[in-house]
Amino acid sequence: MSQTKLHSEPLLRVVKRAERPAGQAAALRAVAVVLSIVAGGVFLLALGQNPLAVYGTMLSGAFRSAMAIQGTVRYAIPLCISALAVTLAFKMKFWNIGGEGQLIMGAVFASYFALYHANLPHVVLLVIMALAGALGGGLWALIPAVCKVRWGTNETLFTLMLNYIALYIVQYLRDGPWRDPESAGFSKVARFDKNVALDKLFGVHIGWVIALVLTVVIWVYLRRTKQGYEIAVVGESQDTARYAGIPVRRVVLRTMFLSGAVAGLCGMVQVAGQDMTLSIGVAGGVGFTAIIVAWLCQLHPGMIALVSLCFGVMEKGSGVVQSDLGLSADCADVLQGVILFFILASEFFVRYAFVARKKGGAR
């Protein structure tokens, strides 16, 4: 028989690997962080900056004073709460990328009470606002959930589009019914009464306490409760869930409501703690960054709190870099992107291995 011409074996093959030991995976991620810092440094060098100075400024900028630390925490709060919110839905494999819109609707619902019932007793008002925010976000999340359960609509597209609708609702309120008559030039919603402001603890509004409490509550909810168990089963296989007698539709609706409610609560924290008004920048992309944070942490609540803080450091630190070293905001964004890229890529290496071709074929 004549020699058949063979396709050569590829130089590198990607092989799915058996689970790596936890220590090895952690080491890989650490390497990724180091590499990202190096790559970011190369980028900074190319801009004519001293990387060490930039990184140093970034870190010191985030921690150099009590006020800096407070600023860092302030960045981390909404990120942490909304990442926890989407985690609830993601555990169920319900791709809720509408955290942004749910946050906004929570802010809208809470703002109503801040604007028109500001004379209520302080604590009562805040509790009502929190409940209203949760309700607003929850109902907003329920819309795609109901459509998914009834007609099998695509939740990814649906939740995404609702983000824009929520944003335009705020714009309408700002330009129309909630317009501050005292603002002369451009339209805006009036600044809230002082009675509305969230109390402070260690110089930061108590949103950080809420975030930490939610971290624990959601961890317990997902890991220890019957409802959390149901979420996990539905996420793994709806067929299995139905077989086990789990009311799948009810679980989907309930979980999505909770997911939206947490995001909505985040909206309330933002308007009453941070902004003291309702603006179209109330979410400012936090709902999207939260998705990255949730996945980066593999949906682990404790990790989410930690990683949110790291994002806060980056955010706050690059702000200082901008003002101190005159690096433009875009460069800071690129730097953040580089770091994220490396960390996300490391997940690929945790799960897959490259196998080089051996000389002379299989031997």
């Binding site: 058996a18 299995t240 789990i246």
Partner: protein, 504 residues
């Protein structure tokens, strides 16, 4: 006719590792032109891994595969094809709306032939190997065995002289199996080399010339089929002597527990899945359900579990109609389903969860308060591991990492521990090796002796005839008869499966 025996494939010292697991460990295998080699081994003994390396899907870590006497680097399925190796997978890879001949040429690099010429070519090939097929028939209108014929033609058309069949008989009726074997014999006579993977010893004895036995990734022996019997093969496979007869205790005091009356079920696409199905299930007996795959077994299970609505009829459990009840209500009545679909993990178990969490699947609602109590579930998982010899690194290892037999034991173990009155189990030994299969049969017999009504939906008629008390035969969603398993023959059941009404 004198012919020199030529080696088609020789594997020398093939080793393949997946992470920590050594799937193949220095395997030696040889298949010659003009012979059928059976590859026998328990689950996880490395049969499929080895075949995947020969057909270019995996690459060996160590060792040499020689094709026609020369070392070959089989880097991809295309390389395997160029070397004349063709694999017929257990799950068909056909384009349903296309005709048989379109499927046959699909993916070949040659210029597209005019329909007439192609048809002639396909029919010539059929004649050579004694196959029958209608080249223009769309695949979706074909029976399982016709589809298999198309798969075989596909590899023959590409000039394959070395054929690998992975459990080809799993989906066939006995009659269809006989037909397949006739085809394989014809191909052997034409000088093809054939490797067949199967779990069924009687088939190994019927078709093969030699048998290579794998055990835990090693090739333990290669024997001439003529010189061995089923008991000897089992011994080689398992590593010790195993009794092959299945125990069948006499039913004690059978009482009707479930009566199915005029059951009619329509699939979502409007076709009838079950039509006028009538039967009874009694306590302390095993009712077998036989039928070609897709005869309504799946729908029967799903209706009784409350997962699928029935259009007609009733299912009376202790004289109470359970149709229309929710799955949770049916579970609470003590009706237990251990339904094992084709992919084994699809229902019944949560693949990504450990044993502990899987034990909770139906019982997590028990107990007051919002919290799940995992301690009893963990204890149950631990006791199952001991009682049923489940091989797992721990109670929290995701069950998807366990081998097929162990997954099956986890599933059935949980169902049995829930103390059901009616246990419905579908294909509980599908893809399992002899050893694990017998553990499952024993478990079912224990339940029977405790007075549980057991429904066993199976595919191996020999097992159904030995294990069950009565056998319900389904064909196209209709009951073609209920046979006494002690007196019925395999031929009778086989004929009933194809729709013949047989006088028993």
């Amino acid at each position: 006719m004198e012919q020199t025996v030529q080696t088609a494939i020789r594997c020398r010292g093939i080793t393949k590792r997946f992470g920590e697991v050594v799937a193949n460990d220095g395997i030696e295998l040889e298949v010659r032109y003009g012979e059928v080699l059976a590859l026998l081994g328990e689950n996880g003994s490395g049969k499929t891994t080895l075949m995947n390396m020969i057909s270019g899907i995996y690459h060996p870590d160590e060792g040499v595969i020689e094709v026609d006497g020369a070392p070959a680097a089989i880097g991809s399925p295309a390389d395997a094809q160029a070397l004349g190796i063709g694999m017929i997978h257990q799950h068909f890879k056909l384009v349903e709306p296309f005709s048989a001949m379109d499927n046959i040429v699909l993916g070949t690099k040659e210029k597209r032939l005019p329909a007439k010429a192609l048809r002639r070519k396909v029919l010539e090939l059929c004649e050579t190997y004694g196959l029958t097929i209608e080249p223009e028939k769309p695949v979706r209108e074909m029976s399982v065995s016709e589809k298999q014929t198309v798969e075989i033609l596909k590899v023959l058309y590409r000039g394959a002289r070395i054929l690998i069949l992975d459990e080809p008989t799993a989906v066939l009726t006995p009659q269809e199996t006989d037909k397949l074997f006739a085809i394989l014999r014809q191909m052997r006579a034409k000088g093809c080399a054939i490797i067949i993977i199967t779990h069924k010893l009687n088939e190994v004895l019927a078709i093969s010339d030699r048998v290579t036995i794998l055990r835990r990734g090693r090739s333990v022996d290669t024997v001439e089929t003529a010189g061995v019997d089923a008991a000897r093969l089992t011994e080689l496979m398992v590593g010790r002597k195993v009794s092959l007869s299945i125990r069948r205790p006499e039913p004690k005091d059978p009482q009707t527990i479930l009566k199915v009356v005029d059951l009619g079920v329509t699939r979502p696409d409007g076709s009838a899945a079950l039509t006028d199905v009538n039967f009874t299930i009694r306590t302390g007996e095993i009712l077998g359900v036989a039928g070609v795959a897709g005869s309504g077994q799946k729908e029967l299970c799903e209706v009784l579990a409350g997962l699928l609505p029935a259009q007609k009829g009733a299912a009376l459990y202790h004289k109470e109609n359970i149709l229309g009840k929710s799955p949770a209500e049916i579970i609470n009545l003590g009706i237990s389903m251990s339904f094992v679909p084709e992919d084994r993990l699809g229902m019944g178990l949560v693949a990504g969860m450990g044993m502990t969490d899987n034990m909770l699947l139906k019982s997590y609602r028990e107990g007051k308060g919002p919290f799940v109590d995992r301690a009893p579930a963990r204890a149950l998982a631990e006791s199952l591991i001991k009682e049923l010899n489940i091989v797992t690194p721990g109670t929290e290892t995701p069950v998807r990492m366990l081998s097929g037999g162990n997954v099956q034991k986890v599933l059935l173990g949980r169902e049995i521990e829930s103390g059901p009155n009616l246990l419905i189990t579908a294909y509980p030994v599908r893809g399992l090796d002899i050893n694990s299969s017998y553990v499952i049969y024993d478990l079912l017999n224990q339940q029977k002796e405790k007075g549980v009504a057991v429904v066993f939906i199976g595919e191996d008629l020999d097992v159904l005839l030995e294990l069950c008390d009565r056998i319900l035969v389904l064909c196209h969603g209709r009951v073609t008869g209920v046979a006494d398993a002690r007196t019925a023959t395999k031929e009778q059941i086989g004929r009933m499966m194809t729709g013949e009404e047989v006088d028993l």
